[in-house]
């Protein structure tokens, strides 16, 4: 990893390509597999699956201090790109060069054990998010306070509203600075006041260290959080640069779909 005082590259993505077999979009029970092997043996054993490319040669670099807003219509490859960077998926082609610590959150509506309280879930999640920290209790206490959940922190997680779940999980994941933080459409559950508070917290810890990759469909959220925009369309980057031109590029993508006769 190269390192300079002004633009330290935390992550370099080179010619990333990810594809799936189209058949994999269909859920098939073993019984269905058995039926098609018996009724259509030739096509079952010899037909090659069609490939669906989700990412088609994506290349970019993330420098320290960047808050990248990723925009794109549904199915443009945003989540797949984030999962590759988080190390959850392995691209079939291309490389991701990084020694940075990556933390990622793709949904805020989930705890691990719904029967346990918010605090107990947060303790467990903190162990999973921050494996190198021995005592996670101070982090959980800080996150509980930031989330403003009050006495609800000791109520079973299953009783939480979506907004409360979102508050707790976002407070927790942003409690410890990381090199790269990935947030994939996760602000939608929180109310507008908490979104602003969280955006401020993220800015403050990005100033201390790291970078953020922030996926959203909301130009307003992108304006609040980001200083760069990436537009993905059909698995390719069509724009990477300043925020306002990026939002304009995204809206021009969407325009034809909304244009009625």
């Amino acid at each position: 990893m190269t390192s300079t005082s002004s633009s330290e590259v935390l992550l370099r993505v080179n010619d990333l390509r990810v594809y799936f077999e189209l058949d994999h979009y269909h859920q098939r029970d073993l019984r269905d597999v058995f039926v098609s092997a018996v009724t259509k043996p030739l096509s079952f054993f010899f037909q090659r699956e069609e490939l669906y490319f989700v990412l088609r040669g994506v290349s970019f670099s993330v420098e320290r201090g960047m808050r990248i807003g990723v925009l794109g219509v549904n199915g443009s490859g945003k989540t797949t790109l984030c999962r590759c960077i988080a190390g959850m998926m392995i691209p079939q082609h291309g490389t991701i060069e990084s020694s940075a610590e990556v933390r990622a959150i793709f949904d805020t509506g989930t705890g691990i054990m719904p029967e346990l309280t918010g605090r107990e879930n947060a303790l467990l999640l903190a162990r999973l998010f921050f494996p190198t920290i021995r005592d996670v209790r101070p982090i959980v206490e800080e996150a509980a306070e930031f989330s403003e959940l009050g006495h609800f922190i000791d109520v079973p997680f299953k009783k939480y509203s979506k907004g409360m779940q979102s508050r707790l999980l976002l407070s927790l994941i942003s409690a410890v600075p990381t090199d790269i933080l990935i947030l994939d459409e996760v602000l939608d559950g929180a109310d507008v006041f908490f979104q602003k508070k969280l955006a401020q917290r993220m800015r403050s810890f990005i100033e201390r260290a790291g970078a953020t990759i922030f996926v959203s469909h909301s130009p307003e959220q992108i304006r609040q959080v980001c200083n760069k925009v990436m537009v993905l369309n059909q698995g390719k980057i069509t724009y990477f640069g300043d925020v306002e031109p990026g939002i304009a590029a995204y809206l021009s993508l969407k325009a034809p779909a909304h244009a009625g006769p």
Binding site: F20, M88, I112
Partner: protein
């Protein structure tokens, strides 16, 4: 993630899972022991008294096969759907899936140890066996644990792609129960059908345990242990290959 971090996370998740379960009902823990005890009682009655299987220390023989069988089958059946039931968690965060599966297997193993201590150990001591032989148990349990974990890995990944795997597994176990020499000794199988036992992977995992508990024969123990370790290595390699092949589609299908 280091092995130590993996172990700490697995422990935490196992404890939380047990806490969550027993907070709902303390009767759950009684069930953990009651279930194998009832199975043992009924099978002892049927096979010893009704079918009159005659061999020395039959009750110890039966327990030595039944407890690992219950551990093996219940852990696999509880572990196979774990990625699907925890799909939202796995999709939401960068969480190591193997921690979730490891915690499930650990949970099953704790139940096994509890039923071993509360049910089998009193029988073992009653039959006046040498407690020294029990020192071999960790060796006998290692391939059983690793084999169970590896098979659960393979099936839990496949269950993400074919959601009826657990039903099929349950059906296969109900067939294997009769084909595996648990309630009858292996010597009962006629020579022409010896291949039925030779092809049964579960038997390889159970045999070292039963040799310690029932037979107490050191000459038979070592070859059985080596075979058991070999089968465990094969299933570990299989689990690893299936994960490598399916890793990308795994998140897509969850």
């Amino acid at each position: 993630m280091s092995l130590r971090q993996f172990w700490i996370q697995t422990q935490d998740l196992t404890i939380a899972s047990m806490k969550s379960r027993y907070r709902k009902t303390w009767a759950g823990f009684i069930w953990v022991v009651l279930n194998p005890l009832l199975m043992f009682g009924v099978q002892a009655l049927v096979f010893r008294k009704f079918l009159r299987i005659d061999m020395p220390d039959y009750l110890l023989f039966l327990l030595g096969g039944l407890l690992p069988w219950i551990f093996f089958t219940t852990t696999i059946q509880m572990g196979t759907p774990v990625f699907v039931t925890q799909a939202q968690l796995l999709r939401s965060f960068k969480v190591n899936p193997w921690v979730i599966l490891g915690a499930q297997v650990m949970d099953g193993f704790i139940n096994f140890v509890a039923s071993f201590v509360l049910i089998l150990l009193p029988f073992y001591l009653f039959y006046d066996r040498s407690p020294l032989l029990l020192a071999l148990l960790p060796l006998a349990l290692a391939p059983l644990l690793i084999g169970t974990l590896s098979i659960t890995v393979t099936l839990s990944i496949l269950n993400v792609f074919h959601r009826d795997i657990n039903f099929v597994t349950g059906f296969v176990f109900s067939l294997l129960f009769f084909l595996t020499p648990i309630f009858y000794p292996r010597e009962f199988i006629p020579p022409g059908y010896a291949w039925v036992a030779a092809l049964n992977p579960i038997l390889y995992f159970i045999e070292p345990f039963r040799l310690v508990i029932h037979t107490g024969s050191l000459e038979e123990f070592l070859p059985a242990l080596l075979k058991s370790a070999g089968v465990a290595v094969v299933f570990t390699a299989l689990g690893f290959l299936v994960w490598k092949r399916k890793q990308n589609d795994f998140y897509l299908k969850l």
